[in-house]
């Protein structure tokens, strides 16, 4: 196998750093995320508060570090639901074939013809604004994309010798999907899943920004940006620094996905 491209290392480094923030937040952040200190209200960035403090005197840097947990967890949840559900449905549809496949693909087509994020927005509002409901809504609405991808890939795998052999030995669709299709699709799913994480971080933070996701006082990046947007012109740091975390994680996942694709599939040039 070729040497991995540079962007793969760059992306992996960014993602690893953010993952470390999420896992080790209490040890990295200098303050607890919700420690109120009225004396420090709207303190500008300084040696004690690297990214300044918000209106309640909470340390913005600490809130960003702790915010990595809900923000990245919801992104992972969105992709896990979309990719996991989509891959299973797509592979089973292709393996079962017939009317089942037709129905699944028609439904997929219909859902893909809708403005998904707008529907996700309405669905989250109806379920009740919270980060969990937001993750569910965005996850479910991303299922059709993965169904189409995995069904297409499975259709070609279906005709390969090892799948036909397993089928001749009496393997059912579920067994085939899990034991024979999934391992062969792992590289493709790794690429699309990683890029999906980038979109998920952006979508989740945007919907949290408009009040559909994390509710106060939870330190989630989109909610932090909304918090800071109220006093943007006077205390810019409250909104600007959490945005860097969102942009950086989206960039990290995109670079990692790009790098993985170049590395695993050198013919692809999109």
């Amino acid at each position: 196998m070729r040497r991995p491209p540079f962007v793969l290392y760059a992306g992996a480094a960014i993602v690893a750093a953010l993952g470390a923030c999420a896992l080790l937040a209490p040890w990295i952040a200098p303050y607890p995320p919700n420690a109120v200190d009225s004396g420090m209200a709207f303190a500008p960035p300084s040696a004690t508060h690297w990214a300044g403090a918000d209106g309640l005197g909470r340390d913005v840097f600490s809130r960003i570090v702790h915010g990595a947990r809900p923000s990245l967890l919801s992104a992972v949840g969105i992709v896990a639901i979309g990719l996991g559900g989509g891959a299973l449905i797509g592979a089973l549809a292709a393996l079962i074939g017939g009317a089942t496949e037709q129905i699944v693909m028609r439904v997929t087509e219909i859902v893909m013809a809708l403005p998904g994020l707008v529907i996700a927005l309405a669905l989250t509002a109806a379920l009740g604004p919270s980060l969990v409901n937001l993750t569910l809504a965005l996850g479910v609405l991303s299922i059709p994309f993965y169904v189409r991808l995995v069904r297409g890939e499975t259709l070609t795998l279906r005709e390969r010798g090892f799948v036909k052999a397993a089928r001749a030995m009496g393997a059912g669709p579920l067994w085939l999907a899990v034991r024979h299709i999934a391992p062969n699709l792992a590289p493709v799913l790794a690429v699309y899943g990683t890029m999906g994480l980038s979109g998920a971080v952006l979508a989740a933070s945007a919907l949290s920004f408009v009040g559909l996701g994390a509710q106060p006082p939870m330190a989630e990046w989109g909610a932090l940006i909304f918090d800071g947007s109220q006093t943007l012109l006077t205390e810019w740091w409250v909104a600007v620094f959490p945005g860097i975390a969102v942009a950086l994680s989206a960039l990290g996942f995109n670079l990692l996905g790009d790098g993985l694709r170049d590395w695993l599939d050198p013919r692809g040039d999109a």
Binding site: A113, V118, L121, A126, P129, L212, G243
Partner: protein
């Protein structure tokens, strides 16, 4: 010709099925939502008995499929419900704010295409060279950028620091009335140069924030499309007959690069329908998106779902129009959707 008509009829039929599904989805979401229309209408002081009576009158005691039938009939007659906050019909409220959003989205779509198409073609023509790398870097940066946050950075730079551009609203002072509600067109039609410039200045920052994510995605697609066109036989033929590379690209390649982009621009619209919700909030843009965010904070379900329904209808209609436009532009397209 006849295959094309059949194809378009199939396409229109599919759009109708999609629209029917949208109503089913919004109805299901409404049924899921914790709001009780009877309680909302009767007010918090009403007795349980009065609410129950109202529930019967509104048909809320009927089975779900019957309620869906009634809902569908209302939607088809243009009744999208009544805003809980203002008591006015949702359709009226959204229509009043639609021109502001249409102006914002159309401008962003034009700006995104005007930047992304030359970038993509440039990258493809210099494949592997430094322009290709620059465009790739720009694309990755743009698709990783949270637009609403970029909007704030632009406000800080161009409004707070430099004072060059306004950061809030569509117009300085009272909006000039006009037949279309699109300020750029109305001021131009009225010969109001100062007003036109003012409207343009107010558009600049929100358009930049809304267009950014699309530029990267679009530039990538244009690059891929241009690469496939550049290696086509008719391009080899054009070069062999003595045209310079530039002439060959202008006269033979561009049309085939641009035509497939028509349906892709429709996909960009989906991104912008949702992006406008967030961006309008950042910039206090008095459009549908900012209105929906207010409705979200007030949990005004009829407005949220009315928006989802109307946005979906607009999106499906735009997609259908884009498909028809493409099949007119490119007569080779005959395969079923």
């Amino acid at each position: 010709m006849s295959t094309r008509v059949v194809r378009l009829a199939q396409r229109a039929g599919f759009s109708a099925v999609v629209l029917l599904s949208v109503t089913a989805i919004t109805f299901a979401i409404l049924a899921l939502s914790p709001s009780d229309p009877a309680r909302l209408l009767a007010g918090p002081q009403a007795t349980e008995a009065a609410v129950a009576q109202l529930r019967v009158r509104l048909g809320l005691d009927q089975p779900l499929w019957a309620q869906y039938g009634a809902y569908l009939a209302r939607v088809l007659s243009g009744d999208f419900g009544v805003s809980v906050q203002t008591g006015r019909p949702v359709l009226e409220e959204i229509a009043a704010r639609a021109p502001a959003t249409i102006e914002l989205m159309t401008s962003a779509l034009i700006v995104a295409a005007a930047i992304a198409i030359p970038l993509g073609v440039w990258a493809a023509r210099r494949r592997g060279g430094w322009p290709d790398h620059v465009v790739r870097a720009v694309s990755v940066a743009s698709i990783s950028m949270p637009g609403f946050w970029l909007g704030m950075l632009l406000v800080l730079l161009f409004y707070r620091e430099l004072g060059w551009l306004p950061a809030n609203g569509r117009f300085g002072g009272v909006e000039p009335g006009g037949p279309t509600g699109i300020l750029l067109i109305d001021t131009l039609a009225a010969g109001d140069a100062a007003g036109f410039i003012d409207a343009l200045a107010h558009l600049a920052l929100p358009v930049a924030a809304l267009a950014i994510a699309d530029i990267g995605a679009l530039a990538r697609l244009v690059r891929a499309q241009t690469l496939s066109v550049l290696s086509a036989d008719y391009m080899r033929m054009a070069r062999a007959s003595g045209l310079s590379e530039g002439e060959a690209v202008r006269h033979h390649a561009m049309r085939n690069v641009l035509t497939p982009l028509v349906p892709i621009l429709a996909l960009s619209l989906a991104q912008m329908l949702y992006g406008s919700v967030v961006i309008e909030t950042t910039f206090g843009w008095p459009g549908v998106g900012a209105y929906v965010v207010q409705a979200i904070f007030a949990l005004d379900y009829p407005v949220i779902l009315g928006f989802a329904l109307i946005a979906s209808i607009a999106y499906v209609a735009f997609n259908l129009a884009a498909d028809i436009a493409q099949s007119v532009l490119d007569p080779r397209i005959q395969e079923a959707v």
